[in-house]
Subunit: 241 residues, 2 copies
DNA sequence: CGCCCTCTTGAATTAAGTCAAATAATGTGG
DNA sequence: CCACATTATTTGACTTAATTCAAGAGGGCG
């Protein structure tokens, strides 16, 4: 029956209809492969702002692909202090650090209403066993995460406060641009204090820096709304640091 | 012929004879699987102190398992400044961040005479396709690296200098212990300035802290030779920070 | 509409950095 | 194997970038 065909087509390949699927999943996959992937992926109800996707210590069983919104990942220091590790944007994968110990090693909290695809990891592994390109892709994604983490380590090691803020703004700009959004105008979903924490600085310092950058004509920052006016000079701040 | 059998046995399964193979390669692998792994691994001549294993930007084709010695990984900032990312010990894998872009993204330099096994990555991927446990193991290793990097990010974000040094000493202690060496007495292969760089501090600060820790009876530091005398209190320094 | 939380701004403090110099270790060529 | 050159480490004095403390302004949410 024709209707059956139509049904199958609409049920399957949700990934292909997803605006960001080429970010989280491999471009090189064949149509049939994507269908297989679709079958193991669970769609989740939207996650409200402030809701946790998972918490450090919980049993690990799935990784998550962020479809929309944004998520903050963080560690809890013994003293109870929170250490922000990063901000995830649509297309990013979450939970990869939990693979090794069967528990999530960080916590992930939505910064705004967000949606994710849950990918049961064991099933994904089995699928990787069948689809060579998928195995490679997962390894690539993990590799990229390692690379990004190294850059974060480098940024926070010696760069002065100015360069750190410039750096995170430029990184976000790149990441938005890569997702098809403006590289110069965007909304921050995270608070000043999240940014401060992530950069190893005090909130007050971030606040002063935004003011200072505005005075210098490098950007405008109206609350969460940021316009980068002089990307070239911002890059110089990072580089000459 | 009996001699052939002996030859085969001695040529193969070098991994199994390697004192650290259970660190870099999966414990769960069957004997035949390890033999397959052995076949793709290239043994390399020893690397002299100060020699590079690879440099950022070079074509990526292999990852390396450190067999002996120690290696420092670092990034070069645009300004030419070096940012130390980490220190690798026997059993650690190097070069994982190069998988995604076909180039190494950091540089690796031997801190002392060291030896590595070179593992051509494409061949390893093919083998992962056949051996499920191996695929899982590689993903676990990458996951652990992500986890460790997150901890480094956290350490350098807000902890005072004291806690940072205590933290790296305890981490090294753990890692030596895990490799069957003493947890309380070891030699640092890296310079004070490497430690400083890795922790985002000045050399002078590290030097002063070692003196201070000695005065407090927390450790003795004779040049590179370290004895941890009060691990409990060192942990407290990290935790109460 | 008002409370709360985030953000901003100012002033004082401090942890860590920089600069400078002495000392100790390491390596090199003769 | 020694003397010298070079590099790494330590220590002290001073400086500074960023923090902390304090207080006010601005938005957003119930």
């Amino acid at each position: 029956m024709a209707s059956t065909v139509i049904d199958l087509a609409s049920v399957r390949s949700i990934c292909q209809q997803c605006g960001i699927y080429n970010l989280c999943m491999p471009i090189g996959l064949e149509r049939g492969d994507i269908d297989q992937l679709d079958e193991i992926i669970k769609r989740r109800r939207p996650i409200a702002k402030g809701e946790h996707l998972y918490r450090a210590g919980e049993d690990f069983s799935s990784i998550y692909a962020l479809r929309s919104g944004s998520v903050k990942t963080y560690l809890n220091h013994v003293s109870g202090v929170e250490h922000v590790i990063g901000f995830k944007l649509p297309g990013d994968l979450l939970g990869l650090s939990g693979i090794s110990g069967s528990h999530y090693t960080n916590s992930a909290i939505a910064l705004e209403t967000s949606s994710v695809c849950e990918i049961p990891f064991t099933q994904l592994e089995d699928l990787c066993q069948e689809i060579h390109g998928l195995q490679h892709h997962i390894m690539e994604i993990m590799s990229r995460e390692i690379q990004e983490d190294h850059e974060k380590i480098a940024v926070c090691h010696k760069l002065p406060a100015e360069a750190r803020l410039a750096s995170i703004l430029l990184t976000l700009s790149d990441r938005f641009h890569h997702r098809g959004y403006s590289a110069t105008e965007f909304n921050l979903s995270m608070s000043r204090s999240d940014i401060a924490n992530m950069l190893g600085l005090a909130v007050e310092t971030i606040s002063r820096l935004f003011t200072h950058f505005e005075e210098e004509g490098l950007l405008t920052a109206d609350r969460k709304h940021i316009k980068l006016l002089d990307i070239k000079r911002l890059s110089e701040i990072v580089q000459t640091a």
